[in-house]
């Protein structure tokens, strides 16, 4: 029971500061699950983000369910999801009541811009860590050919999403398939 309460509290904290869209939640889950609580390794976290991209639903709920499930099974998964909902629910209800006043408020807008700037910085930091983890996975000897191939896959994914506007799901599956084939055939 103590563990379930800890899960709820952990995700209440994550969801309370998750401003700036789905991807802004990734660094927060990383901090809480990997660093503060030590519930998963960085490698597992990297797997989780990949899984988030190929499963339906909001990324925060996916991440919370994964972490909760790994820590305490199905009750943990439900506890984590409930934790993610409580604080936003309170926020939304307050905003609904006061909404005209808040909607036009320059102060609210100012706070939101700063929080979005923070989100960019946090995602950039996670980008660096995930990039290093993807290029130099733990327990695998670095190898030049694999490194060059990996950078090419990263650039390819970026190109398809940024320039060709292809949605992340097929790109992720494609990257997985290309990597698997390359390792089976020549790497």
């Amino acid at each position: 029971m103590g563990l379930l309460i800890r899960i709820v509290l952990a995700f209440m904290k994550v969801s309370a500061i998750a401003f700036g869209g789905a991807y802004a939640t990734i660094p927060l889950v990383e901090e809480e699950a990997v660093v503060v609580q030590g519930w998963m390794t960085y490698g597992e976290f990297a797997d989780l983000i990949a899984i988030d991209e190929i499963t339906p639903g909001p990324i925060l709920i996916n991440s919370a369910t994964f972490v909760g499930m790994r820590v305490a099974g199905i009750p943990g998964a439900i506890a984590a999801t409930v934790g993610c909902i409580i604080i936003p629910c309170i926020f939304v209800m307050i905003l609904l009541v006061l909404y005209r006043r808040f909607h036009d408020s320059a102060l609210m807008e100012g706070a939101m811009v700063s929080l979005k700037c923070m989100a960019v910085a946090l995602i950039a930091s996670t980008f660096i860590k995930l990039g290093l983890n993807a290029l130099l996975p733990e327990g695998v000897a670095p190898d030049l050919a694999t490194g060059i191939f990996s950078v090419a896959v990263i650039c390819g994914a970026f190109y398809l999403i940024n320039q060709k506007k292809i949605s992340p799901l097929p790109v992720m599956l494609g990257c997985g398939a290309v990597n698997l084939l390359a390792h089976l055939l020549f790497l």
Binding site: T55, N62, S114, L115, A121, I123, A134, I161
Partner: protein, 194 residues
């Protein structure tokens, strides 16, 4: 039947459609912005439960609250259509697909991740995630810096140094950022007054 009774039955009648709508939306989209777009189409154009203007206000509320946008949007749309129960039906519809799918995936994750093929496939997806995050960063960066001068850049650099170097909780950073934004906005408001 009294007006209240009629109102209540029409509200109850909306619970199942609400649940099914958010369930379907959550099943088919996973980025917050995609979900908002589908929701708008569903509730404004198809069901006509809200006007375009009402929906724009609701979306503004959703984007000002923390957490998963899809859940917040379900909450607001459900509440405005059918009160507390509507909100509950919509939120449950929204979280059920990810909850069930992720419980199944996680249960299998522990078993299949040790398989070499799965491992290589996951490694490839992790590379894809890195490329995708680069796109996300560029998109957000442009969105938040456009026409706002040096202030966003300063906040970004300070926040970046904070997370890379300090090792303190992001919670304090979030509070500091929100305060900085409020202070800056109130200074501008004062200057405009005088």
């Amino acid at each position: 039947m009294s007006r209240d009774g009629k109102d209540r039955s029409s509200r109850l009648g909306k619970l199942l459609p609400l649940f099914l709508a958010t369930f379907t939306i959550s099943m088919t989209a996973n980025s917050g912005y995609a979900i908002l777009a589908v929701m708008k189409d569903d509730f404004v154009n198809k069901r006509e439960w809200f006007t375009e203007d009402e929906m724009a206000d609701l979306i503004a509320i959703v984007q000002s609250a923390p957490g998963a946008m899809a859940v917040n949007a379900s909450m607001v749309v459900g509440y405005q259509s059918a009160g507390f129960l509507g909100s509950l039906a919509a939120v449950v519809g929204c979280i059920l697909p990810p909850l069930v799918v992720m419980i199944i995936v996680t249960a299998f994750y522990q078993v299949i991740v040790s398989n070499e093929f799965v491992y290589l496939f996951m490694r490839g997806m992790q590379l894809g995630v890195v490329g995708m995050l680069l796109d996300v960063i560029i998109g957000l960066f442009v969105n938040v810096t456009k026409g706002r001068g040096a202030y966003p850049l300063i906040i970004m650099i300070l926040a970046f140094l904070y997370v890379r170097l300090s090792g303190w909780s992001i919670l304090y950073l979030a509070i500091a950022c929100a305060l900085a934004g409020v202070i800056k906005a109130s200074l501008i408001a004062k200057r405009e007054e005088s």
